[in-house]
Symmetry: C3
Subunit: 336 residues, 3 copies
Amino acid sequence: MGLELGELAVRFGCALRGDPTLRVDHVAPLGAADPAALSFLANARMVRELARTRAGAVVLEEAAAPGCPVSALISDNPHALFARIAALLHPPSPPLPGVHATASVASDARVDASAEIGAFALIGRGAHIGPRCRIGPGCVVGEGVHIGADTRLVARVTLLPGVRVAERVLIHPGAVIGADGFGFARERAQWVKVPQVGGVRIDEDVEIGANSTVDRGAIEDTILEAGVKLDNLVQIGHNVHVGAHTAIAGCTGISGSTHIGARCMIGGGVGVAGHIQICDDVVIAGRTTVSGSIRNPGTYASLWSAEPLARWKRIVAGLKLASRRAPGGKGQRDDE
Amino acid sequence: MGLELGELAVRFGCALRGDPTLRVDHVAPLGAADPAALSFLANARMVRELARTRAGAVVLEEAAAPGCPVSALISDNPHALFARIAALLHPPSPPLPGVHATASVASDARVDASAEIGAFALIGRGAHIGPRCRIGPGCVVGEGVHIGADTRLVARVTLLPGVRVAERVLIHPGAVIGADGFGFARERAQWVKVPQVGGVRIDEDVEIGANSTVDRGAIEDTILEAGVKLDNLVQIGHNVHVGAHTAIAGCTGISGSTHIGARCMIGGGVGVAGHIQICDDVVIAGRTTVSGSIRNPGTYASLWSAEPLARWKRIVAGLKLASRRAPGGKGQRDDE
Amino acid sequence: MGLELGELAVRFGCALRGDPTLRVDHVAPLGAADPAALSFLANARMVRELARTRAGAVVLEEAAAPGCPVSALISDNPHALFARIAALLHPPSPPLPGVHATASVASDARVDASAEIGAFALIGRGAHIGPRCRIGPGCVVGEGVHIGADTRLVARVTLLPGVRVAERVLIHPGAVIGADGFGFARERAQWVKVPQVGGVRIDEDVEIGANSTVDRGAIEDTILEAGVKLDNLVQIGHNVHVGAHTAIAGCTGISGSTHIGARCMIGGGVGVAGHIQICDDVVIAGRTTVSGSIRNPGTYASLWSAEPLARWKRIVAGLKLASRRAPGGKGQRDDE
């Protein structure tokens, strides 16, 4: 059982200090690990826990190795090394090929024989489910939807017609891909719906969190490029284009027709306006509002941090006063 | 197939420059349109794309017509005209009358013969589904729920008991209508649940986005009046009343017992406090917080836009200092 | 039918002014109540409605009793008393024991005979459903999930493997418990998924709102202690620990590995950073951002309230100018 440390060191090309024949069979935090566990030094603040750990081995940086009382696997990027070993120790369940007795598969849908279709899943007319896909319970795969190999819809995922999903995509429960964008024309103070006739293209290795929503394009497609990661409760508006390997944390909303570059990191609770451009390699701090285009890589922010209420009230009141005396504000009443 | 430009001009009472016998059969953006496509000049910035378009015809304003190299349909409100023509070219699928073999319909539910009930849909006891409704796969229609004619629940929509939905309503996947409001009384540092016994009333022509939530009233009903449009991931608290033709963009939350007037436009990521009044014809900029009642029509905002991180830190630090020197803040320590 | 006021006064140990034999059989707001209704004076502003009410009886504080034209039940905590009486008048439906014909229950799942399993519900292998549970339509209960007595999943709730739910928990439609946390290691500008192998522990008397998401732990469990109340569209990240009787309003996100104390009240639209500590008895105003740990009980805020747009623009512009002249900002250009 388990994996030998020596085998792991060879496989991942990392240094090992300790017993190469020792085996680990699961991951655990430093403080709760037993000798069969592999653990991980996430940051320097945990050095005390490291000193007391009973783990079989710990993944860490070279600099931290002297403080490690047990075997150590040493890496320049211990987080990534830990992730890869953890994936060996805790592999995802393989598909159980076949269609659950309660599922409903259209007669002309093409479901690969190696795919798993769960209970109460609906596979619409003309849909295509690739090899080794896992379509979990309660999923709705719309008419003509194409899903590439090794993709998993965990449960209760909805893919509406016009959605194409590539290989190795992982979509968590409750996500809705391809609902109508929020497109209306105003006419005499009422709204005329603009038909949303674009689709959604999701490239390989994308992950989409629980209850997130990715709208179909108004005319052209909404696109998530390869390796994009969306957390839970993220909203992606119609015609948005998210570049490869960009990650977006929870509760963030991207308004329609905005183009986000590659390798961006967008924090949680962020709001991004519509019809703007964000270039590659931009980091947006959590809870920030992006109202205009960003043309230079770097980190951007606009959040205010919590203060005790009385102090916050003074800040707000004082600043509003100050703003009246500022150039351009001088002499003006604030309430005209 | 397709529609003749002359026929469209007559039908919508707009001017046509070009060949009235030319036919269009789909919509496309200016840059990707072929001669069978109808396109649309959304704004003046796209005038270069207009000059190069290969569309069969373009919907635009009079002022833009001279720059149009192809046929033009001219309107004071090109967005609305485009929306109406697009709806003719891309009509929603009609219902396929009947109940899917896997659906579960209570024996005393009244389902109009022209309605479509999808796979794994549940129609509860005493529910009423009107003519030409489309109840999509995985929807849950609770006991006694009444749904008017031509309403569509796209998929996996939940309507709990006590919900009434009028005609021509469109609800996107994952929306939950009629869950309990967040009502608790505090007693010795614990919470006592206040039973939520009101319902939800959704009037005609409302549209509700994917994974949005509209809570039932605590005692009286939560109400969305005619023509209200909610985007995705919008939260409407218990007893909220949203006036006719108000639109609310994604990720916005309206706290309980708030009354929003008619024809308001509320941006994305907005938060509105509970127990307040917002009058008719108010525009709230995206990412704004509304803490108190708004009694005058107009546009309101409270968002800060992203800055490079170093600059943002200076703004925050400088302003906190400034607030101590402001009248009322003078001499006070900020941390008492 | 209904309950006698005298019986209620005895049962709840409160004073009664009026006729002890009078019966009420439902709750209603002051303004819409009839003589069979019990109503409630929520706050002093409603004193005019109190004077005109036609309710059979009103729950209120001693001080308000003289202004009550009908029978009065008097309490130091009228909200809680009202909640308890309302629960008697409007009891939740009891479970209808048994498994719906369309449900799918694994052969080795243990479902108590007194539990109700709804249409299209899936009970996975080795799952355990306790006495008097109500598992509503379309719910997915994953492999090995344990659910305690008297718990209700209203509809379309997803509990993934590794989730344990205690007694008297109430989870509203669309909630997803136990999806993977947002855990990735960065390696050469791409993301390596960190397997999420922890679970979720939900203690007794927790309530979780519609379409909220509670992620499984990365290694250890995500925990909601007894009596925690989450509103709709709330996101709880991996490894978060929420202390007993803390309430979190809608559209709030708690980032991973944060520890929130007991009896906190967190408003709507709040964002809490990851890896921080919030002590017991903290109140966070709605729309506030919590970036660092909070070590003292009290109320905290960082929200800006909406202003008319022109005024808001002046505030922002003036303050940015002011920040340049502040010590530390002096002479510095804001855009280097």
